[in-house]
């Protein structure tokens, strides 16, 4: 084995820039511009690879993305789990090892180096930097169009393209509708993604040479003829001293000539059109010769094979382009495609030499006639599948996995289809190429993810008071994209349970405050605002007086609870409505949809003001004391400022809108200030409350306080299948005001059943037993019954209550309202069965005496 670098030549290499790299623990020299494959061949290394299943020796077979054998893992200067040596650029200090097609993921991946996704808006994208691509790119550029030419190789084509913008080492990995292309740009170890939108895309990806299946066609030293020419021309490497050419077409003549000119002996040209063929290769770990079909033995160290050429049609087909079989060229050519896509050059069949349609050499047996080298699948395997009755190349692909390895069938797909045609006796081309599946080359997950990890995975929304919460040890929960304080440990390590009992007790007996700024807020203004809201909510908003506030429930068109909140009437023609934290965008979109698509006649304008306001709920019997201490010009007496009204004024010198709403049943005032004043207002109220023992509280205490009052949380006590009646809220359905969204659905057969699940309260028989949220309810007799057990409901909310000094829960229970006083059993995998008494869902102050202080 003496193949090596020629003294001169090699269009891609720069002999003035030597470098060295390591392959399988051995250091080798190379030149700038080499691929690992060309450098290994230059060092007379052809072999050193193994096949994945059979462990057969393998060597470099191609010079590009078709490579089925020569895979390496790169460990320095960057990590790449698997890349064909034919596509890996040699750089100084690179370390690599051969891989049998199965890669390894490092336990701790190297630190993040995700790059942003780039975008390019073009007139013309040209895919492929061969002669046809360069011609197309130059022409379009001359026409004044904005053009980008991309080529998957690192080859230096810039000098040939004039003013055209070029990306090399850049593969168009997929085409999508409307001229959208995804380009994977390899830049050393990092790589990035470029999203291209082009008015016109010109495909010039060339053609790939087909191998031929014969005995031992996988032995190192067997190389596609065009690849041998590439190594000579581009890298100045002569891949063998003595070559046999085995071909179906005239394209190999030039290869033979080039090899001869480079000093190689041509032992023979075996052309199937002359009845000649290679029956098998000879040798151990390398080709030492071939036995021809006529019985001759020919010594050689290189077997160049050409079974014809396949235009690269994968991208063309991926957006619906059709293909037709060309019998003369023995390949599929592009036919009809989308108007923005065209194909030029050999991908369109231009310049492809006519070829015999020849797929495999007949032999005594076929278990070493490799079709897919990377899957170690042979003609015998294809035949086995066909003999079992699989008559479609897609079925054969699935039975053998041919075409599913890293090269995605570039060398095996057409061969497999041709062999199936042959075995079935059908016309050549009857078996279309199997469906292409992007990407064209494998793309690292992290490149696809781009920068969208960690905090950028999804935007984080915080309130103006967030920093204060962090300083005060808040533990946060995610509510949609918002970070909300869940609870505030009084000292490090205080448990959720202890903190929440403390926070709730403060709200019930003293004073507490909560950041409610995340609640959605929408201004609904215009002459028809009242009419509009009457159609959106189950209850009437038109009858609400200016200065007053009303709770409202919205349903989906299916009649199920959708969102809730309060509406403040700001003026005759204006409201401010609140939504759940997670529902704000949904509700605004819904308002817009109905206004634009059903009722364009209504004069109503909706504006999201969620972030314009900071909202601070001050809750508890001492609320007025705190507000007075903070300083306010609003008369906050119950007479002047009754429940469910709002007043504009100042708090702590800041303009504020005060609202007498209560989600806890206690006296409460919601202080709304400009978002930019939020933190100042919060601090002022907190300082003013210090002497009253004010405590900040989080969402968990808020949930407990509202549950004690039986107030539902849409999304926790509901799951999209509850009508207002199911929730015991028939009172909020105004049947006189006219139609509203969801009303008709309340009168369907299933929504009027008496035995629907109703919201009820539960009091565990043992006051210290806490039922798990998500526990299922069963009849008392089935407390310990073995499954299957019929369930009759489930627990939606469950807490320890400071004010009740016991546990309690809310649940949805079949026919629940008629079962008050009965015992049911809550069963959960997280605790023993807990018997509980069914109650009304209001546990505290059912008369509502506390809300006025």
């Amino acid at each position: 084995m003496t193949s090596s670098r020629l003294p001169n030549g090699g269009s891609e290499i720069d002999r003035s820039k030597p470098l060295s790299f390591v392959f399988d623990d051995v250091e080798y020299p190379a030149f700038e511009g080499d691929t690992l494959a060309s450098a290994l061949l230059a060092n007379a290394v052809n072999g050193g690879f193994r096949s994945p299943i059979l462990g057969r020796p393998r060597g470099v077979m191609t010079s590009g993305t078709s490579e089925p054998n020569a895979f390496v893992e790169v460990s320095a200067p960057w990590f790449d789990p698997i890349v064909p040596a034919t596509m890996a650029k040699a750089v100084d200090g690179l370390r690599s090892r051969s891989l049998p097609g199965v890669a390894r993921l490092p336990e701790s991946p190297p630190p993040e180096r995700a790059l942003g996704h780039h975008h390019a808006h073009l007139d013309v994208l040209v895919v492929g930097g061969g002669p046809a691509g360069i011609r197309a790119a130059r022409r379009a550029t001359e026409e004044g169009k904005r053009v980008l030419l991309v080529d998957e190789h690192h080859w230096a084509i810039r000098s040939q393209v004039g003013d055209v913008e070029v990306l090399t080492s850049a593969a168009v990995t997929g085409l999508y509708d409307d001229g959208f292309a995804v380009v994977h740009v390899r830049e050393g170890g990092a790589s990035r993604l470029c999203h291209v939108r082009a008015r016109e895309i010109v495909l010039a990806p060339g053609a790939h040479e087909r191998p031929i299946a014969f005995a031992g066609n996988d032995r190192p030293g067997v190389m596609l003829a065009g690849a041998a020419a590439d190594y000579l021309d581009r890298f100045g490497v002569r891949p063998g001293e003595r070559a046999v050419i085995f071909t179906t077409n005239d394209s190999s003549r030039a290869v033979a000539a080039a090899l001869a000119a480079a000093g190689a002996d041509i032992a023979a040209v075996l052309d199937v059109r002359d009845g000649a063929a290679v029956a098998e290769t000879l040798g151990e770990d390398r080709v030492a010769g071939v036995r021809a079909a006529d019985g001759r033995t020919l010594e050689c160290d290189l077997l160049c094979v050409s079974g014809g050429w396949n235009p690269v049609i994968q991208l063309w087909r991926s957006v619906g382009g059709t293909v037709r079989y060309d019998a003369t060229l023995a390949c599929f050519l592009p036919d009809e495609g989308p108007p923005w896509l065209s194909v030029v050059g050999s991908a369109a069949g231009d310049g492809i030499e006519p070829s015999a349609a020849f797929w495999f050499v007949e032999g005594a047996e076929y278990s070493a006639h490799f079709v897919d080298l990377q899957r170690d699948q042979t003609v015998a395997d294809v035949a086995g599948a066909v003999q079992r009755g699989l008559r479609n190349v897609e079925h054969v692909k699935r039975a053998t996995y041919i075409g599913t390895a890293v090269d995605q069938g570039r060398t095996s797909g057409a061969l497999a289809a041709g062999i199936v045609d042959h075995l079935l006796g059908t016309d050549r081309g009857a078996q279309g190429p199997s469906n292409p599946r992007p990407p064209w080359e494998p793309i690292p997950f992290r490149v696809l993810a781009g920068p969208y990890g960690g905090d950028l995975f999804d935007p984080v929304r915080t309130t103006p008071i967030h920093g204060w919460h962090i300083e005060h040890r808040a533990v946060f929960e995610n509510v949609g994209q918002w970070k909300r304080p869940w609870y505030f440990p009084a000292e490090p390590g205080e448990s959720l349970e202890d903190a929440v009992l403390r926070e709730c007790a403060a709200a019930r007996t003293g004073v507490a405050m909560m950041d409610a700024s995340t609640l959605g807020k929408i201004e609904v203004v215009g002459a028809d605002a009242a009419v509009f809201l009457d159609r959106m909510y189950t209850n009437a908003m038109s009858t609400l007086g200016v200065g007053r506030i009303r709770y409202g429930l919205m349903l989906g068109q299916d009649g199920m609870a959708f969102d809730d909140g309060v509406a403040m009437r700001l003026a005759e023609d204006g409201y401010l409505v609140t939504t759940t934290t997670g529902g704000a965008a949904r509700v605004l979109d819904r308002f817009e949809e109905w206004l634009q698509t059903e009722w364009p006649d209504l004069r109503v304008y909706c504006t999201s003001v969620t972030e314009q306001w900071a909202t601070i709920a001050v809750v508890g019997p001492l609320t007025r004391e705190v507000l007075r201490a903070a300083g306010t010009d609003v008369d906050i007496s119950n007479e002047a400022f009754p429940f469910m009204t709002w007043r504009d004024g100042h708090v702590a010198g800041l303009p504020a809108r005060l609202a007498r709403v209560s989600f806890s049943g206690e006296l409460a005032v919601e202080v709304n200030v400009a978002g930019t004043d939020g933190l100042r207002a919060w601090k002022a109220l907190f300082d003013a409350g210090a002497s009253f023992g004010i405590m900040p509280y989080g969402t968990e205490a808020m949930h407990v306080l509202r549950a004690e009052k039986g107030f539902v949380i849409v999304g926790q006590d509901t799951d999209g299948t509850q009508t207002p009646d199911d929730l015991g809220m028939s009172w909020i359905v105004n049947t006189k005001k006219g139609d509203f969204i969801g009303r008709r659905s309340l009168h369907r057969r299933d929504t009027t059943r008496a035995d629907r699940k109703h919201l009820v309260g539960l009091l565990p028989e043992e006051p210290g037993s806490l039922i798990a949220e998500g526990a299922q309810l069963v009849e008392a007799a089935e407390a310990d019954a073995a499954p299957p057990v019929a369930t009759i409901g489930h627990v939606t909310s469950s807490y320890r209550s400071a004010v009740l000094d016991r546990t309690f829960a809310l649940a949805l229970l079949t026919g629940g309202r008629s079962r008050v006083g009965e015992t049911v059993v809550a069963r959960s995998v997280t605790h023993d069965p807990i018997p509980a008494t069914v109650t009304e869902p209001v546990f505290h102050d059912p008369e509502g005496t506390r809300r006025d202080g």
Binding site: F79, D80, P81, G101, A103, R104, L105, P106, P109, P110, E112, Y176, D177, E362, E365, V379, A380, D381, Q387, R388, G389, N392, H395, R398, A399, T404, V406, Q408, R437, P438, P439, P442, P444, F445, R446, L448, A449, Y452, G453, G454, F457, D458, V460, E477, N478, V479, D558, G715, D719, R748, D750, E773, G774, Q776, P787, V789, T791, H794, R827, V829
Partner: protein, 412 residues
């Protein structure tokens, strides 16, 4: 020419021949429209359970080339509502005996399915589902984040990530199987029992009697008469149903999936996350098999939009830092027919002689044996099977929807 083959790809237990290619006869007792998994399973159980072998399955392309060839093979039965859990559990039980029943190696692997919870609402919903499953006799467990880390160490359970893992449900009997082999197994055994399987025959219309009843199908390979026609065409159901004037609550969307290049084993269970939007398993060959989100728009193109894949990869790397350097090898899309409540429609229709089985959306693969079993019974007896009754088309009129968006595996 006789070629020897060394049986490397097919276990010796499997039959020497798969299904026999058939020419359509002029008439049959039953015609099944759609040679995908559900259609083939229906034909098999018609023959096996009901002795109805005068059956023809017509397929417009190559057998099982639609969603069978495009899914991510997750099998589980841990659905929220009793009605769903019952039919999926029936299916899972059939899976547990299917290799023996069909005599095919389906590579059915009960490696466990984790469904991750990422916020407090997820935790409540997950526990609710686990408790419902356990009481319903379906295996289900609740795992804490530490349990999750022990069960699947490569999941990032660190509390500081954007949407931390707060726990997970585990169905140990859940897992994966070899999709193509399942379809070939049903096809081969149905064929053995006398069912005709006709590929490359596209249904272009329905034969109607004077009273409007369906009496067969018109196909690109000729008319085929039948007393009963079962429509099991997944994403293309609406197109076919519209030929008899039947409007359905279905929309057909692209659903994308992908595999990575081959890696040494790193993941020995199935992991799903609705909130962070991942579902992933590792095939025996070594590929990571992942599902992406459903594309928003209706389309029959069998291709989706690339940003859906990018979002999926961001989620995968977020949950599995070890995947950062993994490489996507192939992506593809199927066409899924989705109902408003993410549950299927199985049963008779108002058109006499026509039965439908559709709307399996993103979750049809796991249901294949159960769906075929129930649909075969429905066709054989001309009335809904008890497991199929809740899934009648009528539920859209009464309002008794079975809302499985939370459990359907793909968040909407």
């Amino acid at each position: 020419m006789q070629l020897s083959h060394p049986e490397r790809n097919t276990p010796a237990s499997e039959p020497d021949r798969y299904w026999r290619p058939a020419e359509p006869k002029p008439s049959y007792e039953v015609v099944i429209v759609g040679g995908g998994g559900h259609g083939l399973a229906t034909a098999y159980y018609l023959a096996k359970n009901h002795g109805i072998t005068d059956v023809c399955v017509v397929e417009k392309g190559w057998l099982a080339g639609g969603n069978v060839a495009r899914n991510t093979t997750v099998i589980r039965s841990n659905y929220l509502w009793d009605e769903s859990a019952a039919i999926y559990e029936h299916s899972l039980k059939l899976w547990e005996g299917l290799e023996e029943d069909l005599g095919f190696d389906l590579q059915f692997s009960q490696r466990g399915v984790l469904n991750l919870a990422h916020d407090l609402g997820d935790v409540r919903g997950s526990l609710r589902r686990v408790n419902a499953n356990v009481l319903g006799g379906i295996d289900a467990e609740w795992l804490t984040p530490d349990d999750v880390a022990a069960f699947c160490p490569i999941i990032n359970v660190a509390p500081e990530v954007r949407y931390p893992v707060l726990g997970a449900t585990l169905q140990r009997r859940g897992g994966v199987a070899r999709h193509d082999k399942m379809a070939w197994g049903f096809a081969t055994r149905a064929s053995d029992l006398g069912v005709d399987i006709v590929e490359h025959a596209e249904v272009t219309g329905f034969l109607r009697g004077p009273d409007g009843r369906v009496e067969g199908v018109e196909t690109t390979r000729g008319d085929i008469r039948a007393s009963k026609v079962g429509l099991v065409a997944a994403g293309h159901t609406s197109v076919l149903a519209s030929m008899v004037g039947l409007r359905l609550p279905l929309q057909s969307h692209p659903l994308q999936a992908l595999v990575s290049v081959l890696f040494e084993p790193v993941l020995d269970c199935v992991v799903m996350s609705n909130a962070v939007h991942v579902y992933v398993s590792q095939a025996d060959k070594g590929e990571l098999v992942m599902g992406a989100g459903i594309d928003a728009y209706n389309s029959y193109t069998q291709r989706g939009s690339f940003h859906v894949i990018e979002h999926q990869m961001a989620a995968a790397v977020e949950l599995f830092p070890i995947f950062a350097d993994a490489k996507v090898l192939r992506t593809w899309a199927g066409v899924v027919d989705v109902c408003p409540d993410a549950s299927p429609i199985v049963g008779p229709t108002r058109v006499e002689g026509l039965f439908i089985n559709c709307g399996w959306g993103t979750g049809g693969f796991k249901a294949t044996p159960g769906s075929g079993w129930v649909f075969a019974d429905t066709i054989a007896h001309g009335r809904p099977h008890p497991l199929g009754e809740p899934f009648a088309l009528e539920r859209f009129t009464t309002g008794a929807l079975i809302d499985e968006h939370g459990a359907a595996g793909v968040a909407h």
